[in-house]
Symmetry: none
Subunit: 217 residues, 4 copies
């Protein structure tokens, strides 16, 4: 099961959709994302961005009035376009296929979303780093992401709980364990550049066992 869409692809789509985003501005966004991921936002200068993008420094400021706006523009597609689409596509697929076991659910989540994380490690990295440091971004992101996960993942969890496929734990904990297990993989591969492929089956098994309902005594 392949990733439906990477952030880069989303960039392209958004730009093409708007129709009016000049190519140089795309180069600026692409260069910004790459540099932010490599060095962090604060350690990246607008001069570096201009050089990498092959444009003049003034061009960086043509569409985005400040460096902060540039960061927002780089991260925006993730929260406003990609994340909703991914969550909804995922939910739709799960619902369509009427997963009735946690095995099926977890397999879907891991294979699908892990590949997504992998494909978008650049943006993920920028996002995680900045969320750790910027209160405003964090609140803005959580305000969008949390309800989205609640609306799309929680009903599925409730369903599986009803058929004894999941323990009677709070949904946010179950989600935390799933997401946490994946993020741990993301951070690890971000550190050590190891191939993700191998960990998939193990992770599925770990989660499947970990999220098994307690044996009804």
């Amino acid at each position: 099961m392949a990733t439906e869409m990477s952030i880069q692809a989303a960039f392209q789509e958004v730009m093409a959709a708007s129709g009016e985003i000049p190519p140089k501005q795309q180069q600026v966004l692409t260069a910004s994302l790459a540099l932010f991921a490599e060095q962090g936002f604060a350690n990246t200068t607008t001069k570096q961005i201009a050089e990498r993008a092959g444009v003049a420094e003034g061009t960086v400021y043509r569409r985005y009035k400040t460096k902060d706006e540039l960061l927002a523009a780089v991260l925006a597609p993730f929260t406003t376009e990609v994340l909703p689409k991914l969550v909804k596509e995922f939910a739709a697929k799960v619902v369509r296929q009427k997963y009735t076991t946690r095995h099926a659910l977890i397999t879907a989540v891991i294979t699908d979303r892990l590949a997504f994380l992998q494909d978008n490690s650049q943006v993920m990295r920028v996002l995680v780093t900045e969320l750790l440091v910027r209160t405003d971004l964090r609140e803005q992101f959580l305000a969008r992401a949390v309800p989205m996960v609640q609306a799309n993942l929680y009903p599925i969890l409730d369903q599986l709980k009803a058929v004894q496929e999941l323990p009677d734990w709070p949904n946010d904990r179950i989600a935390q364990f799933m997401i946490g297990t994946m993020v741990s993989q993301f951070i690890r591969s971000s550190f050590t550049a190891e191939p993700v492929a191998t960990v998939g089956p193990l992770m599925i098994q770990f989660l499947e066992q970990g999220l098994a309902p307690e044996p009804t005594a």
Copy 2:
């Protein structure tokens, strides 16, 4: 079970070890840690540090010749003093108590290490953020931490595997799942300021189930 040592205590020790303990330098370190945790290293100015520490800007440079050295000094106790001591104390305790079930191991890890993360959330936060961004720090940290975990945790894991208390997975994966589950909690509480206490039992159960050995057919 209380934390054996917090970073603040470690600061004291490091200070004591280096002979003299200029109180102003202690204030500088404390202020730096707090500000780096709040705003990130790159977004913190030496002026802010001086103000919060109640010293002149020049004083910040008395002991540490650059801002980078200050970051190193803030993080050093963690990698050079706290982390080794913690891992070793933990291993010693485990060995001493001859844990023969993963339940006992996981309970010990979660209650003990989670409290530790909690107590040192400031340094943890600075550490995680900077490790994501600075290649040099990352390599340096991994070069120290990985062998340490390997030397102290892996033998215990092997032992438990031998008595069918853990599945026959690579040790680094088992460690990843345990650490990842804890770090996910750290990041979550870092984002939402929820009390950690409540999650303990659930986390133990999740890990215990997740790390159960596959039923030998």
Copy 3:
């Protein structure tokens, strides 16, 4: 007595004189004048001008190659067209009507020129401000204006001095007192937005008394 010519009218004339009248250029000049008057020349950007004029930024540069040329174009009608015409018309009228009392002269000056200042307060403001700051403009302006006043006003003053209607002061002083009294009114209304109409009679009386010849003992 109405103003013979306002700057807006002068713009039209200058435009007509130069053959074609591109309406967009007219908009550019009008917008420039308004913005220079509101914010000063140096604080106004070509982007603001383009926006207010409803044209693209490049269009601003179609006729005027630099921003300085634009300032010159805004001020030019005043010194090259309006001022000469006004002074000469004034002189002609005075001569035609054979004013033989300073009362008649001052009344004519005040009612006529004060209305003129009022109608062209925008250009006046830009002119005064820039003359205070730009040495080159100042010299250029004085080189044109001073001789003009000398040629047209001084003979009339001499005439009135001859019939004891004016004191035997240097003409430049008499002119200074008259002009200064009017300019003071212009600056005041520019600051406080008060209606000019009311001050007319008082100003006439003040000047008439102030410029009375010393009683011949």
Copy 4:
């Protein structure tokens, strides 16, 4: 009658009084005033200021966080220190000497205040130019200056009106004519660099006649 205090002197006094204004900061203020007067605020760069002051560019920003604050600091002594002192000293002197004729009053005003304007032509020039262009500064200045003049000059005018030494015009008009006549001289000398000394007697006579009460029929 000499000027009691020039702006430059006021600078010195304020600086000396505060005690804590380092010499380099004085150089910055002095250089700023000179350059603003020569070229206008907007046309002066912080680099020029640093060069003229003989300091590094960063030093310009040590005490004043923005260029605007520097302008405020340059003009502040005028409104907060010099203007009040001058108006009050003047009023005190007038009252002390019990002027009962407008001749005495006008002579005092002209000789005294004209010299003041002359001595402080630099600051005056910056002040006038910026008041023409900056709405905020203008309101702030008027809010201070107008009441001050009203409180100190108007009673004296009322007194002279009572003894038929001044016409029954609104005080603000009388003040306008006096101030306007002086400002006209200031602007003229600012343009042409002529010596002021010579115009004194003529100006006194002009004002004295202009402000004579209407002959009671």
